[in-house]
């Protein structure tokens, strides 16, 4: 019989046991009577020999092995009964736990979806990311994207891998229906979907035949583009789409929701059809190579094959491939600083949960101590001490699981809003959801916290001296219990201190960062990336003319004060870092100095409101054929020409072949955002005239340029007029990524603001919980000490002395907590400074402020119980004893 069968047959088994023992006794009595005893004697003897029938029965029940479960069911019933008897305590504990586990579960759900889940491709563990690695470093490290020829060489020489390549290509897409729009597209090798193990949604995927320069131009479109532009009609297949000036026939639709890395690309074209020179260059990196390990092949095998190719190419093409090899690593989502934000938040939430546990533990402990007499009576009546401890633990577990269930409910409701409010959009947000792993985690932390807060009362209850507690009648509190209570308060204060400091440091950081000067005047400035009509891009002169025309037309719109073109907008994502040197001798690649280079039109300085320090800015007279000029910022002036006047000095940059002459110095712009610029590795800035960009680069540069407009009116109101004015003759010029400088400045602090908000909420919660905990513990302790206080007052202590005594004791606890928390708080602010841009490691003023706040709040919480204690009527108190 299984134990569970025995459990369900409990009643039947008990009945049979009863009959078996009765039979034994009756047989024995009968035998004894035949041996000559009187019936009464016989019954007595038989009973004596068998022993107490209840004990025998108990032992037989124990032998069934279901005892623990029966006890458990009994304990759960008991726990539910006692919890129901105290609805106030139960509601508070459940609410605290639900908040704690709920918040922790939300954080875990996000971490699980964003960081831990692999890509949603077939067998993601066998997918690899390939990179080039050099034996020398640039400012950006030693890992590089592939060049296309390197990819082709590796693909043919590494049998362990099935390799595919892709690269992002953005451009204007026009279909028969509707206006042109700027979309993100991808050029991919024909096998990319197959390597990922993804099936096409509609139509067909690329074939090998599609992937060559002479093939018929074909394209795949995303599911959302198919819905948006074709109304999800099957006639989309076979129709034409013009992408980046070239016409393609749509042959397939990608599955709904399919993402490459973390993006949904709208137009896919075969990379082999791209005839541009960048596919032939061994110098142009940035092609992404993903691969699947073939069956039976291992990563080690693939790596060694890759390094063999690397060595061969090094000899074959020393100019481009010297010191360059290829490495493979597990294909993992790249989520940037989201990772550290998430771990920070999970730790913060974990601390809140810990405080909640300490709170509930001290409440339960208070109850366990008041119940001491009941427990002592039960021990005296034969209950095992382990059994009582288990009962206490069961009660906490019931509480914990109920709280955890509520927490999961809260998490399920809270997860969507949380991911929506993530600053700058949470990467992989679509992967975030509650699944069985999250449920296991939530259950796990609920039970863990149940054990955490149930352990102290459980160990405490039966451990005390039986006789003592029976005699004392549960009136006095033994020293050990008091110490435990105090240690809970100390722990709560210490943890609250950590969270308060973190919130304080973030608040201080936000204040400081918001008051920083971005270096530009951010008010009333609108920017937008601009895609010129693909037709105008064929010829450099037409491109330049098109820009001139575009700026002229925009300038005539009412409300526009000035307009310029610039390639990198301050505080917006994207940068253009190039190497420069201040002497003619070109230094080795790795020794070159990086600068943020901007190609600009003359009005840029006026539009952005950047102060001119020396010399002049770019003017209309700086054009092709005149002297190549550049304007540098203060940081670069300091870096390249320390202690000298930079005006008239020459600089060599890669873009313009001749040396450029410095004609002016302007103020520094916090290009990387308010929070990050001070820590950025590349801060030097340089401006050169867009008009002097060489013919060969004009097309690429034109794709990168944005317009930037200073307005007299609310900049957002000018979006539509600008769009209309700039659409162009063919209606295929579009503005995209439209935003104001104010928005970019705000966004550059979004992470800090988000952390401040959450830390603030957590710290407030922690402070509240800690205060409730202190109040509870003190109220309980002083209540237990009523007779003692009564005695003191009878002997002459005044209300003030009693108040002072309690407050002093409470202050001692609080200060111990603050001392313990200070070290942890210090470590926490160091960690924040390390992980979050703009945070300073040491903020003594903030620390002091938070300590004062904490002490004040904690003293307030202890005042009520202290005052109550001071108003004890000594007569009543002594009569209680």
């Amino acid at each position: 019989m299984n134990w569970w069968k025995r459990l369900f047959l409990k009643r039947k088994l008990d009945y049979q046991l009863e009959r078996e023992l009765t039979f034994h006794l009756e047989q024995h009595v009968a035998d004894l009577i035949t041996q000559g005893h009187t019936p009464a004697e016989a019954r007595g003897l038989a009973r004596l020999e068998l022993g107490g029938p209840q004990q025998v029965k108990e032992q037989c029940r124990d032998a069934r092995g279901t005892r623990w479960l029966e006890d458990f069911v009994q304990d759960v019933r008991y726990a539910l009964r006692t919890l129901r008897k105290r609805p106030g305590f139960t509601a508070m504990a459940l609410a605290t736990l639900a908040l704690g586990t709920g918040a922790t579960t939300v954080m875990f759900t996000v971490i699980h979806g964003v960081l831990l889940k692999p890509f949603a491709y077939r067998e993601p563990a066998r997918l690899l990311r390939l990179q080039e690695q050099t034996n020398w470093n640039t400012a950006l490290g030693n890992l590089w994207g592939f060049t296309y020829p390197n990819y082709l060489d590796c693909k043919s020489a590494v049998p362990a891998l099935d390799m595919a390549v892709w690269t992002i290509k953005r451009g204007t897409a026009t279909t028969a229906s509707g206006l042109a729009e700027y979309v993100d597209g991808v050029e991919a090798s024909n096998n990319l979907l197959a390597v990922l193990g993804v099936n096409i949604g509609q139509g067909r995927a690329f074939l090998v035949e599609d992937d060559g320069p002479a093939a018929t131009p074909v394209a795949l479109i995303s599911h959302r583009l198919w819905q948006r532009r074709f109304g999800a009609s099957p006639t989309a297949l076979g129709s034409e789409i013009v992408f980046d000036g070239k016409s393609y026939r749509v042959i397939g639709v990608l599955p709904a929701g399919f993402r490459l890395a973390d993006s949904e690309f709208d137009v896919w074209t075969p990379i082999g059809q791209d005839t541009s020179p960048r596919l032939k260059s061994r110098e142009i990196h940035g092609f992404r190579v993903w691969a699947r390990l073939r069956p039976d092949a291992t990563l080690a095998q693939a790596s060694s094959e890759l390094s063999i190719v690397g060595r061969r190419l090094e000899q074959q093409y020393p100019k481009s491939n010297k010191g360059r090899t290829f490495i493979a690593s597990q294909l993992r989502p790249i989520v940037g600083d989201t990772q550290s934000t998430l771990w920070l938040l999970l730790s913060a939430v974990g601390l809140v949960l810990l405080i909640a546990c300490a709170n509930i533990a001290s409440l339960l402990l208070a109850r366990a101590v008041s119940n001491e007499r009941e427990f002592s009576v039960r021990v005296a009546l034969g209950a095992g001490r382990g059994r009582l401890a288990r009962q206490c633990l069961t009660e906490s577990a019931v509480l914990a699981v109920a709280g955890g269930a509520l927490g999961i409910l809260l998490a399920a409701l809270g997860i969507r809003p949380f991911t929506t409010f993530w600053p700058g959009g949470l990467p992989r947000a679509q992967e975030v959801g509650i699944d069985w792993r999250v449920l296991v985690f939530a259950l796990g932390i609920s039970i863990a916290s149940g054990i955490l807060f149930g352990l102290a009362p459980a160990l405490r209850a039966p451990a005390s001296d039986l006789e003592q507690s029976l005699r004392a009648g549960g009136r006095t509190v033994a020293g050990s219990a008091r110490r435990l209570h105090r240690s809970f308060v100390v722990a709560e204060i210490a943890i609250a201190m950590v969270l308060l400091t973190a919130a304080g440091v973030m608040g201080r950081t936000m204040l400081r960062l918001s008051s920083l000067d971005p270096g530009v005047d951010i008010h009333n400035v609108l920017t937008a990336r601009t895609a010129l009509s693909p037709a105008t891009l064929q010829n450099p002169d037409r491109t330049r003319a098109a820009w001139q025309d575009l700026l002229d037309r925009a300038r005539r719109i009412p409300g526009v004060r000035a307009i310029a073109a610039i390639d990198t907008v301050p505080m917006r994502e994207g940068s253009n870092e190039i190497n420069y040197s201040s002497s003619a001798a070109t230094p080795r690649e790795e020794q070159k100095t990086l600068v943020l280079a901007n190609s600009a039109t003359p009005d840029y300085l006026k539009v952005a409101g950047i102060p001119l320090r020396h010399g002049r800015f770019i003017t209309e007279s700086d054009r092709r054929g005149t002297q190549s000029v550049a304007v540098i910022d203060e940081v670069m002036a300091q870096q390249a020409f320390p202690g000298e006047d930079p005006i008239g000095k020459q600089i060599w940059i890669g873009i313009v072949p001749d040396p450029v002459t410095v004609v002016g110095v302007v103020g520094h712009v916090r290009q990387w955002g308010l929070a990050s610029d001070d820590q950025a590795t590349v801060r030097a800035q340089l401006y050169y005239p867009f008009a002097q960009v060489p013919d060969a680069l004009v097309r690429r540069w034109s794709e990168l340029m944005s317009i930037i407009v200073r307005t007299n009116v609310d900049p957002r109101t000018l979006i539509e007029p600008l769009r209309q004015a700039m659409r162009g003759g063919a209606g295929d010029q579009v503005l995209y990524e439209i935003g104001t400088l104010e928005e970019f400045a705000t966004a550059s602090l979004a992470r800090q603001r988000f952390l401040l908000l959450l830390f603030g909420v957590f710290a407030a919660l922690a402070l509240l919980l800690a205060c409730v905990g202190i109040y509870g513990v003190l109220a309980y302790l002083t209540n237990q000490r009523t007779p003692e206080i009564g005695l003191r007052m009878a002997l002459g202590a005044t209300a003030t002395t009693v108040l002072g005594m309690i407050m002093r004791e409470s202050l001692a606890m609080i200060l111990t907590g603050v001392a313990a928390g200070s070290l942890a708080a210090f470590v926490a602010s160091r960690t924040l400074a390390h992980l979050v841009d703009g945070v300073r490691a040491s903020e003594p003023a903030t620390l002091v402020l938070m300590i004062l706040l904490l002490i004040l709040a904690a003293m307030l919480a202890s005042f009520l119980p202290a005052r109550r204690a001071s108003r004890i009527d000594p007569m009543k108190a002594l009569r209680q004893e």
Partner: protein
């Protein structure tokens, strides 16, 4: 109050298995038989007999049915299972080895242990 058995630890199970091996038998009869066979040397406390029986039953060494006794009353009759039989043989053999070994030591002549 559980009475301490004078039996060496674990031997009660062995004795019960042996008695039950002789044929289906109820608890009271097992107690009687143990007392008779051991000529009242082994005092089986009846209080530990039933827990032992139930334990052996749960371990699958014994199985039980309710049957009528000769006197026409219903009683729980224990039988040995296949597993119980194997267990009995194994334990009996190991007991025998232990007894032999102890016997050898106790019958050693003086100075025999060189």
């Amino acid at each position: 109050m559980p009475t301490k058995s004078d039996l060496p630890q674990g031997t009660l199970d062995l004795l019960i298995l042996k008695v039950v091996a002789l044929g289906p038998v109820h608890g009271y009869a097992i107690a009687q038989r143990l007392q008779q066979v051991s000529k009242h040397v082994v005092q089986v406390p009846q209080g530990s007999l039933y827990p032992a029986l139930h334990r052996l039953e749960n371990r699958g060494l014994l199985t039980a049915d309710w049957k009528e006794t000769e006197s026409g009353r219903d009683a729980k009759f224990y039988r040995l299972t296949r597993k119980g039989k194997a267990q009995l043989e194994a334990e009996a053999a190991s007991w025998q080895r232990l007894v032999n070994a102890i016997g050898l030591i106790l019958t050693m002549s003086e100075g025999g242990a060189e």
